[in-house]
């Protein structure tokens, strides 16, 4: 029933099972543009981070980690926000494309969160002297990482089943709403302990070039996120199409 509605029977066409329109190569043109824009802005960010931005007076060259650490953190949270919105839309509209988007965005977001945690740890080692500081931001990001690794595990366990997709959508909604509560609780928890506050970027009096390099990084990593998500989205769609065709072949 679902197959018939998604792909109406066309007796006149040359091939008996025409590919759905979203698999046609024409659609990929935009992806090349997006990929090229991401690559160019990333090159510009690398130049800005290592050449254009001044060396930090307090932290030295290590501060340059900020130009990809902070944008990646932003992209990770953006990715999980996309999962949240796509999950709501999937439960509401019951259109499988939102489910595919949520799945793709969660995967890319988890990759970025992993890199954020690693770079944050390396940065913290030099600035704070410890690999890990149980401060609110780092702890919340770590918990976030656990939530979305769990999300991806759930998805890999349930495969492409519709029940699994709905369950994952509910996890995508609850997981994201949990983030601010988590942040609040960890902040309150930390305030009772003596923790030394090191201004991370000292954004208030940062020179314009630092802000500009950060903005460039934000743009570059957002483009990279969009590019990767589109790729994984298409990957999941093809996977789905192959499965639908297989089921159909076995039915006959």
């Amino acid at each position: 029933m679902q197959i018939a509605s998604s792909r109406p029977a066309q007796p006149g066409t040359a091939t008996p099972t025409p590919l759905p329109p979203w698999l046609m190569p024409v659609r990929r043109y935009g992806e090349y543009v997006l990929g090229a824009a991401a690559a160019l802005s990333i090159l510009a960010t690398i130049w800005a981070a290592f050449v254009y931005a001044p060396t930090d007076a307090l932290q030295g060259n290590v501060q340059r980690i900020e130009y990809f650490h902070v944008p990646m953190a932003w992209v990770a949270y953006l990715a999980f926000f996309v999962v949240f919105v796509a999950s709501i839309l999937y439960l509401w509209r019951k259109n499988a494309r939102w489910d595919v988007l949520a799945r793709a965005s969660a995967e890319v977001g988890t990759v970025f969160t992993t890199l954020v945690l690693i770079t944050g740890s390396l940065w913290g080692r030099t600035v704070w002297g410890t690999w890990w500081q149980w401060d609110a931001r780092m702890t919340t990001t770590l918990i976030l990482w656990f939530i979305y690794v769990g999300y991806l595990l759930l998805r890999s366990y349930t495969g492409l089943s519709e029940g699994g997709a709905r369950a994952a959508a509910v996890l995508g909604i609850i997981g994201f709403i949990d983030v601010p509560i988590n942040y609040l609780s960890v902040t309150w928890w930390r305030t009772l302990h003596p923790s030394y506050q090191v201004p991370l970027g000292s954004e208030a009096q940062a020179p314009a070039s630092v802000v500009l390099a950060l903005m460039l990084g934000l743009l570059a990593f957002t483009l990279l996120y969009a590019f990767l998500t589109v790729q994984v989205y298409r990957l999941n769609k093809i996977q789905r199409a192959a499965q639908v065709l297989r089921v159909r072949a076995e039915m006959e």
Partner: protein, 57 residues
Amino acid sequence: MNDNGFLIAAYLIVWLGLLGYLGWVTLRMRGVQADLQAVRELVEQRDQPNASTPHHE
């Protein structure tokens, strides 16, 4: 300064990680496209004998 080592390590991890991920996505894409092609051929083979029937549903 030892700190530069941390910067280089962080930089390498980020880009090797992202490139590795991109490579993994490409590999999966190739595998799944081959899978789709195989299934399509299977469906075409099955559809050929009874192509005159309007639709199987």
